[in-house]
């Protein structure tokens, strides 16, 4: 099943640190079962994040047919906008469910937090330290731009980029969008078509916050936020929660589930030096002056950070991009979804607009992307979002994604990137 991806050779550094050998080390047993998934609908509900987390957790437990008392390990995704209870989200939600003595961890990796929690739970299961783990992430977000932590924080680049540059998150999204226009002739209409597609995908998704068709004209007539991106090109921030019950394959078998959806690869990778693309919240890229071949902005043939993310998960899973039937990628902006097509290996650089326009990534196409409706329909609930991607792919691989089902989906991939050097990708198989 394993074939070489289109992205060329990894740098020596990336190869040396590659987690790809994990699957070999663990044999085909390097997989865990997704026994249950659950979500709290996305929206602006104004409640405590833990309330959403409990709803999602109970839904996942019900879905798995597992009782809370059977859960031996809780892996939480941290929220940084809800005070101390948010920093210890795993135990906050465990307490809300009623202390059951489970072991606990809470992970933070910005937008990748959910995958990090999945990775910790998977590792404990594969190490034989537990059979049943609950992964949960929940958030309550403020209105408007995500802002840095308050106070005078002159040592914090996330604070400084707002103070010195007014470099909001959409500022960085706009840099990437303009690069696509410059390098590949992408147009604002192309970007708008991503929104049109995702809005249509999300229409039937009961967990999505926005369930309304959008036209190209509506996107282009919405106010410009960060040129060339319009308001409707950029995802909102939302409240929401998502949860998974992960178990050993043996536990699933004992429950009579011989063919569960499996987590076959989880990557939570950092960049390889020199990271030549400007990433949030940085003021500058790494310098490529140290004798390396890479030039600023990236060099063909060398994996960019975003290219390396899904590749690491593919290697663990023993699959390649040509095996992928369905993908959930982080469309913080419409243009960024097009970048991801190339980064996860669905097409070569510069071909994403054609893939979109040919309908390849639309439901009914060869490899639908964001059948859930993506962030375009959800808005971002940071620590829940990467887990929500896995919920959607689980429904897709079970064939139960009502109104948005990808036909005969057997392999799915998620991808996202959080600030401060967090990439994440999960490969699910059935």
């Amino acid at each position: 099943m394993s074939r070489q991806g289109p992205s060329g050779q990894a740098s020596g550094l990336a190869r040396r640190h590659s987690p790809g050998s994990l699957a070999l080390a663990l044999g085909s047993g390097g997989q865990v079962a997704v026994l249950g998934v659950g979500m709290h609908p996305w929206g602006k509900w104004g409640a405590n994040f833990a309330e959403y987390g409990v709803v999602a957790a109970r839904a996942a437990l019900d879905d798995a047919g597992v009782s809370w008392s059977e859960v031996q390990f809780v892996a939480g995704g941290e929220t940084v906008r809800n005070g101390y209870p948010g920093y210890v989200a795993g135990s906050t939600i465990a307490q809300a469910l009623g202390w059951n003595g489970a072991q606990v961890s809470t992970s933070y990796g910005a937008c990748a937090s959910g995958s990090m929690a999945i990775d910790v739970a998977r590792a404990r299961i594969l190490a034989g330290l537990c059979d049943v783990a609950l992964v949960v992430g929940a958030d309550t977000t403020p209105k408007g731009f995500l802002a840095p932590t308050k106070g005078e924080r002159g040592d914090d680049p996330d604070w400084l980029r707002f103070r010195l540059l007014g470099a909001t998150n959409p500022t960085y999204f706009a840099f990437y969008a303009r690069r696509r226009m410059e390098l590949f002739g992408a147009t604002p209409e192309d970007f708008a078509l991503v929104k049109v597609k995702n809005a249509r995908h999300g229409l039937a998704n009961p967990m999505a916050r926005y369930r309304k068709e959008v036209t190209v004209e509506e996107v282009l007539e919405s106010p410009i936020v960060s040129d060339p991106l319009h308001l409707l090109d950029i995802c909102a921030t939302s409240d929401g929660a998502a949860a998974l019950v992960l178990t050993s394959l043996e536990f699933a078998r004992r429950r009579g589930i011989a063919d569960p959806v499996r987590v076959a690869g989880v990557a939570v990778v950092t960049p390889s030096f020199p990271n030549a693309v400007i990433d949030m919240p940085n003021f500058a890229t790494d310098s490529a002056a140290a004798g390396g071949a890479a030039a600023a902005g990236g060099t063909p043939g060398r994996l960019s950070f975003r290219d390396s993310i899904a590749r690491a998960a593919y290697e663990q899973a023993g699959v390649g991009p040509e095996d992928v039937d369905v993908a959930e990628v982080y469309d913080l902006s419409t243009a960024l979804e097009l970048d991801w097509y190339e980064n996860i290996g669905l097409c070569a650089p510069g071909e994403a607009e054609k893939l979109l326009r040919d309908g390849v990534t639309t439901l009914g196409g060869r490899v639908p992307v964001n059948p859930s409706g993506g962030l375009a329909c959800f808005g971002e609930a940071v620590p829940a979002q990467a887990i929500a991607q896995v919920c959607e792919l689980t429904w897709q691989l079970r064939g139960s994604a009502s109104g948005r089902q990808v036909e005969r989906a057997r392999v799915g991939v998620t991808a996202n990137q959080g600030l401060f050097g967090h990439g994440s990708s999960v490969v699910l198989t059935r």
Partner: protein, 142 residues
């Protein structure tokens, strides 16, 4: 009209030399890599064991890698003028340092394009009772 006190909004990241301002970075004497802002704890090159980096002035000229014009006021701690004016931010490629450095764009935006040459200036970020708070910016080179 009095000249107001200029206050560098961040210490040690740029010189206040009126005609030829410079960004201040670090350079590794062993492997030659550069760092901006000048805050590295050790050389960021994983192949290089150096821990002492030297202070250097970075190139004053570069080319635009990408840019945007922001039409909404950012949240705090940005100090937005009232009424708010859209402002541009550019990602600028420095050829010698082989890196990209961000900065707001000063002056008229005519000629701002990917690949356009720009040069470093010191310009007002905001003003208050303390004086004129300044920061580095890029300006389309004439």
């Amino acid at each position: 009209m009095t000249t107001r006190q200029q206050v560098a909004e961040v210490e040690g990241w740029f010189t206040l030399d009126g005609a030829e301002p410079r960004l201040l970075g670090l350079r590794c004497p062993d492997c030659g890599t550069y760092v901006f802002p000048p805050r590295a704890i050790a050389c960021p090159n994983p192949e290089c064991p150096a821990t002492e980096l030297e202070s250097v002035e970075l190139s004053r000229r570069g080319t635009v890698w990408s840019y945007t014009v922001n039409h909404y006021a950012p949240p705090e701690p940005y100090v937005a003028p009232d009424p708010f004016e859209p402002y541009a931010v550019a990602a600028v490629e420095l050829a010698d340092e082989k890196m990209i450095v961000l900065g707001q764009v000063a002056g008229p935006l005519d000629g701002l394009a990917v690949g356009a040459p720009v040069e470093l200036v010191i310009d007002t970020l905001y003003e208050d009772d303390e004086g004129e708070h300044v920061v580095w910016k890029w300006q389309v080179a004439s």
